[in-house]
């Protein structure tokens, strides 16, 4: 009898996730996601979400974080919010939106698994994936040996005029990198001043940076992990090195005030943070999940490991000094022609 109960319990335990993973037809309607995550990922997310909630239609708008914020602000001004859930690569943008009372407070049951460094304590936004900066290099013009394993290696003279980075004005992740490194005594502003003197050039987006390296225009770049790894998988002639000093950006999700489908937005919010939902999906695109407990590809760090090792970033301070930071950066890099 006892054994039977155990067997029954085991069977039900096995069946339970099967049921919960099945389709849930009780929700219906449309939900609009503004996302700076690559479009491939968003399409996969859309398919998985719609498979779980067959009566919900997920629409998306995919653009850089800056563009998404511009769209949002104009929507707030004209009081015609279209966006239900925003997923940006720039926590400081979320901090500004929160300060402007533009975000809805939501404590997702899945948010508990997210490290406090990667989310808002009051639940206005929650990190939903990790973006890790590193070194992207061209395999045609730079050997694996020549490419460094840490940021200081980029100052070597063989990278004069052979190094690019994404313009931090338009890229939240590079802005975070500049902040983290300038606040670290090992690098400071000196590091960026030297980069500027070496003739380091700027690109408009991390995608453009990767392409310039892939085309062999430059040997090395400040790269973004999943962009580079995905291109490598396609056969692009580029390579990737993780750096010793980790710069990690939690890419947060949040619901804007006035979202026309708030209930479904929360559903999507949960789905993205769910280790068996969105988070598992991310690893297929070489993106580091924000919660532990997801099976990771070889070489990928867990969220907890990243949280403990990464250079510290005070996101609230970054949001405050953002303009000053960009001005100083521009003074080294943008001598307009």
């Amino acid at each position: 009898m006892k054994r039977l109960i155990i067997v029954l319990l085991l069977i039900s335990a096995l069946l339970l996730p099967a049921f919960s993973a099945g389709a849930d037809a009780s929700y219906s309607g449309k939900v609009m996601l503004y996302s700076s995550t690559g479009e491939d990922v968003v399409i996969a997310l859309k398919n998985a979400f719609q498979a779980k909630y067959p009566n919900v239609k997920l629409d998306y708008y995919s653009a850089t974080s800056g563009k998404c914020v511009t769209k949002l602000s104009t929507e707030f001004q004209s009081k015609s919010v279209t966006c239900d859930l925003a997923w940006l690569a720039d926590p400081s943008a979320m901090i500004n939106l929160k300060a402007g009372n533009h975000l809805v407070q939501y404590l997702s049951p899945f948010a508990a698994g997210v490290d406090p460094k990667f989310k808002d304590a009051e639940g206005y936004y929650t990190g939903a994936r990790l973006l890790i900066m590193g070194i992207t290099f061209s395999t045609t013009s730079c050997s694996d040996k020549e490419a460094p394993y840490n940021w200081d290696g980029l100052l070597a003279p063989n990278f004069n005029k052979q190094l690019i980075m994404t313009d931090p004005t338009g890229s939240g992740s590079t802005k975070a990198l500049v902040y983290a490194m300038t606040r670290n005594p090992k690098y400071g502003w000196d590091y960026f001043k030297k980069l500027g003197e070496m003739g380091t050039e700027l690109q408009s987006s991390s995608g453009a940076t990767n392409n310039a390296v892939a085309a062999g225009s430059y040997k090395v770049a400040f790269g973004v992990d999943y962009n580079t790894k995905n291109l490598m998988a396609e056969g692009s002639p580029i390579g990737w090195h993780d750096t010793k000093d980790i710069v990690a950006v939690p890419c947060p999700i949040a619901i804007p005030v006035g979202a026309p489908h708030e209930k479904l937005a929360k559903l999507l919010y949960d789905f993205i943070l769910d280790p068996n939902g969105g988070q598992k999906l991310l690893t297929q695109y070489n993106i580091t999940p924000i919660v532990d407990g997801v099976e990771l590809p070889a070489g990928m760090l867990t969220a907890t490991e990243v949280a403990s090792k990464a250079l510290p970033i005070d996101w609230i301070d970054l949001a405050k000094v953002s303009n000053k930071l960009l001005d100083q950066f521009d003074s080294y890099f943008k001598k307009q022609k």
């Binding site: 609009m32 690559g38 479009e39 491939d40 399409i43 398919n47 629409d59 998306y60 708008y61 995919s62 653009a63 850089t64 800056g66 563009k67 914020v69 511009t70 769209k71 949002l72 602000s73 104009t74 929507e75 001004q77 004209s78 009081k79 015609s80 279209t82 966006c83 943008a93 061209s138 045609t140 004005t169 338009g170 050039e201 700027l202 690109q203 408009s204 987006s205 991390s206 995608g207 453009a208 940076t209 990767n210 392409n211 310039a212 892939a214 085309a215 062999g216 225009s217 430059y218 962009n227 291109l231 396609e234 056969g235 692009s236 002639p237 580029i238 943008k334 001598k335 307009q336 022609k337």
Partner: protein
């Protein structure tokens, strides 16, 4: 009482008194133009000088005197002046070669000249970037390995590079104008000079050239205005080197400010500077045109005397074909090649080729699918609206001739001289709830309104040219036979100008299909256009899929273009 009845009847017959069709059309024209053109323009002025509570010139001053903005004004001017001068030289040369000399293979060359019109300029720029951008361009790479160079031989990402691409893209404007003037010119003038003993060069200098000056200067103006207000080429080529022109700076200011009130005001202020520069160009051209107007160009078709090139014939032919294939064929081939490559940067070897890029843009990618749908919808609706409104305007201005006719015409052609970026900013300001709480921002309708404003003058021009050829006596004849005003319009006037209306429709349809300048500022989450989709793919670094979508776009445009040709040919035959 009897006479009053007759009077009313007469008045009715003449279309006077009561609420006549003419008056209705006049009112409709005013309402439409004020909504579509005047409101956005007014809002730009309002925002640039009004800070919400009082008149504020400080912000305007600060924007104009900001160093980076002055730099972009300078770049705009340099690029505008040089590309206009060079495009004119190239255009006139080819017009003379094809219109006046006995060079062979004219048909092929004329066909090649028509291709740049079909390819959106930003696509051409993208393709040139793939070939000649620094060390990464495919052609540069090939040259570097061939000649063992350490530095890239060409750098397209420079002011000079932008000028070269604009010349390549815009010289057909001058060519088209000049070649048709040459074809319509009375050849006896040249012949008599030759008989009187003038040398060939002297004839060109003293007779042919002065006679074509009006055509040349109108072609030049077209190039200058297009160059000053172009967004695509400097955006594609200049960004990585921080080279900004006014249109790209306006968009940059919009983006940098994250949609804040201050950012919109700054872009509005910079828009005014751009409009100012364009108006100066227009004034200069008007001055040039009033000097030396010649009415000797005849409408009769006569066979002009062809100049024998003799020994220079084949060298010139080789040069022209080489030049045309470099500037027309090479970019297209480049885009097609890249659209099949697995990852950008790989050499074009069989093992690196794939169809995955096409699959990627079509399967599951709702943004690309939406953009094809949106562009077709926008092009069709904008062309239809422009056709209706433009023809009605032409009729009102040239046939009804109301008191404020000139005002109507000026309002209608105003957006033509306004850069697309400026028009877009105006539309955002006007249609984000400023009037009657109407918010079109983020919807496809705001793009439609902007397109209508921008391209209305195209239909107005083609329809009014046709209407001016319909003599008033035709309508009068119909009216005196007892036809109503409406009937006359339907059975006499409209059928006569139908071919012009059809070509007017496609004059709007085709540029709408490939529009980028306005839509880049106006697109919303669900209203991306083809141009925006390609631009975004490229900015996000997906160059190969961007190339694949470009191939699709070019194919669509070529198909549409051939439909137009088929229709207009049928009309001519019938």
């Amino acid at each position: 009482m009897f006479s009053r009845a007759i009077n009313r009847d007469l008045a009715h017959l003449e279309g006077k008194g009561g609420f006549s069709l003419d008056r209705l059309m006049i009112i409709l024209c005013y309402v439409a133009l004020i909504t579509v053109v005047i409101l956005p323009v007014f809002m730009i002025l309002y925002y640039a000088f009004w800070d919400g509570t009082k008149i504020d010139i400080a912000m305007f001053k600060q924007v104009i005197f900001q160093k980076s903005n002055i730099r972009s004004m300078w770049n705009t001017l340099v690029i505008g002046v040089f590309s206009t001068a060079l495009a004119t030289a190239v255009g006139v040369f080819f017009a003379w070669l094809l219109g006046r000399s006995d060079i062979p293979m004219k048909g092929l060359m004329k066909f090649l000249f028509s291709i740049p019109f079909m390819i959106p300029p930003f696509l051409a720029a993208m393709s040139w970037d793939m070939m000649f951008s620094g060390r990464g361009g495919y052609v540069n790479k090939a040259l570097m390995s061939l000649f063992n160079l350490t530095k890239a031989p060409f750098n397209i990402n420079s002011v000079a590079g932008i000028i070269v691409i604009e010349v390549v893209y815009y010289f057909p404007f001058v060519y088209m104008q000049v070649v048709s003037a040459l074809e319509r010119m009375d050849p006896t003038l040249e012949e008599s000079a030759r008989i009187a003993g003038a040398s060939q060069l002297y004839v060109i200098r003293r007779i042919t050239l002065p006679l074509t000056i009006p055509a040349i200067s109108s072609g030049m103006l077209l190039v200058l205005i297009t160059s000053l207000s172009n967004y695509g080429i400097p955006a594609m080529l200049g960004y990585s080197q921080s080279i900004f022109t006014l249109p790209t700076m306006i968009v940059e200011l919009m983006n940098r400010a994250g949609g804040s009130f201050e950012g919109i005001r700054q872009s509005a202020a910079l828009s005014i500077v751009l409009v100012f520069i364009v108006s100066i160009a227009l004034l200069v051209q008007r001055r040039l045109l009033t000097h030396g107007r010649y009415d000797i160009i005849k409408g009769k078709s006569m066979r002009p005397m062809l100049i024998k090139l003799r020994g220079a014939k084949y060298p010139l032919l080789a040069f022209s074909l080489l030049f045309l294939s470099l500037i027309v064929v090479a970019p297209i081939v480049m885009i097609i090649l890249v659209s099949f490559v697995k990852a950008y940067g790989l050499p074009f070897l069989a093992k690196n080729l794939t169809l995955a890029n096409f699959r990627r843009i079509f399967v599951g990618n709702i943004m690309v699918r939406d953009s094809v749908k949106n562009s077709l919808f926008l092009a069709f609706s904008a062309a239809s609206f422009c056709l209706l409104l433009g023809t009605m305007l032409a009729y009102v201005i040239y046939k009804v001739k109301p008191k404020g006719g000139t005002a109507l015409e000026m309002m209608a052609v105003l957006p033509y001289s306004l850069p697309g970026t400026v028009m877009a900013i105006g539309c955002i300001l006007a249609w984000s709830g400023a009037f009657f709480g109407i918010t079109l921002y983020n919807t496809i309708w705001i793009i439609l309104v902007a397109y209508i404003a921008r391209y209305l003058s195209y239909v107005l021009k083609s329809s009014s040219a046709a209407l001016q050829q319909v003599h008033g006596s035709l309508e009068e004849a119909a009216r005196s036979c007892g036809a109503s005003h409406m009937q006359t319009l339907k059975d006499v006037t409209l059928p006569l100008i139908k071919p012009a209306m059809i070509s007017g429709f496609f004059l709007v349809f085709l540029p709408c299909m490939r529009e980028l300048t306005t839509s880049i500022l106006l697109y919303g989450p669900k209203s991306r256009t083809l141009g925006v989709a390609i631009y975004q793919l490229r900015i996000n670094g997906q160059i190969a899929p961007a190339a694949a979508l470009s191939v699709v776009t070019i194919t669509l445009i070529i198909i549409c273009n051939n439909i137009v040709k088929a229709i207009t040919r049928d009309k001519k035959r019938g």
